[in-house]
């Protein structure tokens, strides 16, 4: 099983890629994916309170179990100009 992690905006500049795949098991949670990305890209700012994690276009909690072919992305807290 695998999930796709998409990089948006400045994340794409830092990682130099649009997306990566991450293998998962039936117990893999959103937080595991977050840790995985932090290890892969230490320069990527993903501090707690700074970004939200979206799974398939919906904001998800860190303990959500991931499913095969889920798409994750990290969103800034946009509240509007």
């Amino acid at each position: 099983m695998v999930v796709s992690i998409k990089f948006l905006g400045m994340q794409r500049v830092v990682t130099n890629t649009d997306s990566i795949d991450m293998p998962i098991t039936e117990k893999t949670r959103v937080n595991d994916a977050l840790q995985y990305v932090r290890q892969q890209y230490p320069a990527l700012p993903l501090e707690e309170g700074m970004v939200l994690v979206a799974v398939n276009l919906e904001v998800a909690s860190l303990d959500r179990i991931l499913r095969d072919k889920d798409t994750l992305s990290f969103l800034p807290l946009i509240s509007g100009g």
């Binding site: 905006g9 309170g49 700074m50 800034p76 509240s79 509007g80 100009g81």
Partner: protein
């Protein structure tokens, strides 16, 4: 420059953020008056929008229109503008009776004009009357003179351009040199020909060594300015910017400012990167979540959108490594700019220009026309600024007519050419026709609301159908409310933002309530109750920013990490605490956040009263086009069928959704229209309004606004 009338004055000292003076200029009578304000004026009306509202409530009538001599053009900062120790203090408000909405409009604008007006001795400038010939106003705090002068005539290239004329004017009044001791506002030739003319705010950027500009874009404030015969206003003061407000507690100001600056420095590089990208960074997120207003808001996403993402503008256009604040001391510095861009289209093709922008809204406006060319965005940005027309209303109105063409309501014979989405040549041609008032641009320059009437009359007479029938169809996709064109967000999937646009007193501009991400993506407003509470709270706090001379972005677009520990993170209350501290330190007050909200509610209710007086204040005026509620046409439904079918299933519970897509689409729209009406009921109750959207008498009395005019209005309304 020929001086037509001049007075001498002694600039009032700023104390605690106020000068307690308004400068009144009547261009018809060529009168200049310095008005002292009574002590309780500022306590009740705060500043900025509040001052504009009160001056227009008292000084105009229900018969006043944008072109009436008694219409007043107000420019006002606020008690917290003009302080480099705190981020985002260069804002001021331009308020008037709008040529688009026929009621109060205001638009906020950055730059140095507001702070310099205050240092020159005035909390606000109120211009009434209509001049016989074109004039400029010169407010010189150094020479202690205020003058009405004949507008200087140069060559046509300079005189027709709001930017070109302003740059020349700023140089001419300062012995041929630019200086950051003066700033100007101007309106261009496009404002003479379109109802959505803007006011440009020009200031000298000492780092770039050039004049930069910001815009009061919404609602036709520039059209009013030009109609008055007012080409420009220059204000000068050499007084120090530091502690410009003469704050009561200077150390308190310093502390509040340094706390906010620390949050901005730490968080913006991890969040929206406004300091790097400006607001263009939003395009990618809007596209991802189906909010980008492609083809007149039909589709929220396109494979071509990435051509308009922020990195494209950063790589190709934005000047790098130059701080971009539109006023001193703002470390968010989001006002991006580009130098030496060659125009490839239009009457100035071949000219190399400096461009301030684009903002997200301008990028969105171009996508609204189905165009995905970044260079066209830059050119469109510059031409709109130079002509003095609103990038948003221009794009949305062109898009409306493009869709009329797409759906067969217009023909090439009506327009003079094929008007199709995505055709840059056509979009470009129409832009110049709008500005010059020629060809089909003459019609488009009237905006969407009047455009609907024109198209319905034309189509009905050609096809022998009733105009009402045609109008009902056009109302589905004519993206305006109260006469103002929507700003650049698709609201189909966010009920809260539908209300954010529908209830907005000036019309669908997001500066009153931008709830779309909080609702649709962050899911921070899960219930109707949450949405309704947000639709009361956010307009109030946002009103306060517009009354005080502050930019909202350091608060709302930089989320303080401590907000995560609060029950309502989207309010960003830890950062708002810095703002309340800044207010108290500046003015010497001892207000709480609730006091601030109460002050704002008074202004909000006053604006509602003006809307009621001008026939734009009831539930009927808060209704939004079907396209803002959901997929108005089947092609839009098909493009997001999976999402809509799921939503419909949730609404129907155990009942089965209809089998045919056409039936599902019909039922979906019925349910969404129903939801919006239910939202209206709840929100009106929260705001202290009747079910018709009218403030109850006790609501008006609570805020001390039941004067004789309000009493008469309520009697006429039968309330």
């Amino acid at each position: 420059m020929k001086i037509l009338h001049q007075i001498k004055y002694k600039p009032a000292k700023v104390v605690g953020g106020y000068t307690d003076r308004i400068l009144r200029v009547n261009l018809g009578k060529q009168e200049i008056t310095v008005q002292e304000l009574p002590p309780d004026f500022k306590n009740k009306y705060v500043g900025g929008r509040g001052y504009a509202l009160k001056l227009i409530w008292d000084g105009t009538t229900r018969e006043t229109r944008y072109d009436s001599p008694d219409n007043i053009l107000v420019m006002a900062s606020g008690p917290l503008g003009n302080e480099p120790a705190f981020p985002g203090t260069g804002k001021f408000i331009v308020g008037t009776i709008s040529p688009l909405t026929d009621t109060f409009i205001d638009s906020n604008i950055g730059g140095h004009f507001g702070p310099l007006l205050k240092r020159a001795g005035f909390d606000a400038l109120a211009v009434s009357g209509i001049s016989n010939g074109d004039v400029v106003i010169l407010i010189d705090g150094d020479a202690q003179t205020i003058s009405i002068a004949a507008a200087p005539a140069h060559d046509r290239e300079i005189d027709d351009g709001a930017l070109s004329f302003g740059e020349k004017l700023m140089k001419d009044v300062n012995g041929g040199e630019y200086s950051d001791s003066l700033a100007a506002v101007t309106a261009g030739k496009g404002a003479c020909n379109a109802r959505f003319g803007i006011v440009n705010s020009l200031f000298f950027d000492v780092r770039r060594r050039r004049i930069r500009s910001k815009q009061a874009g919404r609602g036709g404030t520039g059209t009013v300015m030009r109609y008055k015969g007012l080409r420009g206003i220059v204000v000068r003061s050499s007084l120090s910017k530091v502690n410009g407000n003469n704050a009561i507690d200077k150390e308190g100001v310093r502390q509040a400012g340094s706390r906010l600056k620390a949050v901005v420095s730490k968080c913006d590089p991890q969040q929206l990167h406004l300091a790097t990208w400006g607001t263009t960074g939003l395009s990618e997120y809007m596209d991802k979540f189906h909010i980008f207003p492609i083809n007149n808001y039909q589709y929220g996403q396109s494979p071509e959108s990435s051509k308009l993402f922020a990195q494209v503008f950063l790589d190709k256009y934005f000047s790098k490594k130059i701080p971009d604040g539109c006023y001193y001391g703002c470390n968010l510095a989001c006002a991006k700019g580009s130098e030496n861009v060659e125009l490839t289209r239009g009457p100035k093709a071949g000219k190399v220009v400096n461009i301030d922008g684009p903002e997200y809204e301008t990028v969105g406006a171009v996508s609204c026309m189905g165009v995905f060319d970044p260079h066209f965005v830059m050119e469109y940005n510059w031409y709109c600024d130079e002509y003095g027309i609103d990038t948003i209303s221009t794009g949305v109105t062109i898009s409306f007519f493009m869709e009329c063409f797409q759906r067969g309501f217009l023909t090439a014979d009506d327009v003079g050419y094929e008007l199709t989405f995505g055709n840059i040549d056509t979009a470009d041609r129409l832009l110049h026709e709008i500005a010059s008032g020629q060809g089909f641009g003459k019609i488009v320059g009237q905006g969407v609301a009047r455009g609907k009437k024109w198209v319905s009359a034309k189509y009905a007479s050609r096809n022998g159908t009733s105009q009402d029938t045609v109008m009902a169809e056009l109302n589905k996709f004519g993206m305006e409310v109260k006469g103002l064109e929507f700003s650049m967000y698709i609201t189909k999937e966010s009920l809260a933002q539908q209300g954010g646009y529908g209830f907005a007193l000036k019309g669908p501009q997001h500066d009153e309530a931008w709830l779309i991400f909080i609702d649709q993506v962050h899911k921070e407003l899960p219930t109707l109750e949450h949405k309704a509470n947000a639709l009361k709270w956010f307009p109030l706090i946002r009103t306060w920013f517009n009354a005080t001379g502050l930019c909202k972005l350091p608060w709302i677009d930089v989320r303080n990490p401590e907000a995560a520990n609060t029950t309502e993170p989207s309010k960003n209350l830890p950062t708002l605490a810095y703002y309340v501290a800044y207010l108290n330190a500046t003015t010497g007050s001892n207000k709480t956040l609730q006091d601030v909200l109460d002050d704002s509610e008074r202004l909000y209710i006053l604006q509602k009263l003006i809307n009621l007086r001008h026939g734009k204040g009831t539930r009927a005026n808060d209704q939004i086009p079907q396209r803002a509620i959901g997929p108005a046409f089947f092609n839009e439904y098909e493009a997001r069928a999976e999402y809509y079918d799921e939503w419909l299933q949730q609404q129907l519970g155990d009942n089965k959704v209809p089998a045919s897509p056409e039936q599902r689409h019909k039922l979906l729209m019925e349910k969404r229209i129903e939801a919006y009406q239910y939202l209206c009921d709840i929100v009106y109750e929260k705001k202290g309004f009747t079910s018709e959207g009218i403030p109850k008498r006790e609501t008006v009395e609570k805020f001390g606004l039941m004067d004789e005019q309000a009493r008469q209005l309520f009697n006429q309304l039968g309330i």
